[in-house]
Subunit: 226 residues, 2 copies
Amino acid sequence: MTSSGRPAFVFDLDGTLLDSVYQHVTAWQRAFAAIDVDLSVWRIHKRIGMSGSLLAKRVSHESGRELTQEQQDKVVALHTEYFTESVDRVQPLPGARDLLVALSEADVPWIIATSGQADEAESHLAKLDLPEEPPWISSAEVASAKPDPEILTAAAEQLGVDPPECIVVGDAVWDLLAARRAQMLGVGLMCGGYSQQELIEAHAFRVFMDPADLHASLDQIGVSLE
Amino acid sequence: MTSSGRPAFVFDLDGTLLDSVYQHVTAWQRAFAAIDVDLSVWRIHKRIGMSGSLLAKRVSHESGRELTQEQQDKVVALHTEYFTESVDRVQPLPGARDLLVALSEADVPWIIATSGQADEAESHLAKLDLPEEPPWISSAEVASAKPDPEILTAAAEQLGVDPPECIVVGDAVWDLLAARRAQMLGVGLMCGGYSQQELIEAHAFRVFMDPADLHASLDQIGVSLE
């Protein structure tokens, strides 16, 4: 626990604070189709939350296709292009803004750690409609993205807290696997489309529906805002 | 079992044979947004496979909004419109065509039972690229859609087999709950985005990844094509 006797939070962005997973899934499918790789959509969904280049590599491998570096780069670029086309329809998840504002008001440290690309992050963060720009870190700043724990460790460092003081909040099994490897507690949210059981099997300390449900249940993970 | 000593199959369409769940989810979200109901996408996904009007009623209720009959009708019509816009990107799931052709060649009776609308069904069935028009039934022909078992019972009747001889293949918990109530075995496919555990909890007799995986595993459910 931090010197305040309370944990610090490291939040994932897509699927955890923003309702953007399905737009990402659809954008990936279109990007793969553009290079003549037909993939079942559910396989893409299960890889969301990994870095784009890792997803491109793994999903195409699962489909029995090995992409060249050039093809991987193209599919990542096309995903960005197609996602941008649908970004207007991305909304914050219920309670996301209220939760973050409440944590700030109670002086609970928090940061957003996203596998998304750094040049997109600012416009996506704006969708949270926060009173000031939130602290954030993207996987561009570290050598390897989730499920590697490096971005979480860097996030803790930026907050000035030790990893075991951090609670990672994420919707994907990759967030939770990374949290466990970083010696942090992982809290799973179902609003990215993973089931409770999948999140528990990825070592979620506790699972909630969405940010509003987490906010109402903070006492369950030892956080009091009073 | 039928007189041939082998079961008959009742297949769901969307998410089971066609990779269309995510297009449906996105179309529903756009439709709800058009009548100023902002819904988290994962809540829509969990209701896919129900009839459209039931989905409209339940999802809006969950969000704390009660829709008038006029609003429900509008959201159902808009979903159809938006889905049609993206239908060109809908592909068959891996192995769907091969499985159905193999069953036909082995004289195993099968039928497609879809909660989708009857006027859309024919163009969607065409995506399976089958050698002849498949036998099918839509929920328009029965009073209540899945998770009610009525469409499954009607499908068995159309095949001329008794319900306990039927194996229902579906990707949604609603298919499997309906199967159990119809006294049929339910086989779950993960390709619609539900997890194995969710399908097992909905009484799946067995869970496979997609039609290709089911095809390769038919012996596990007592079906031999030889």
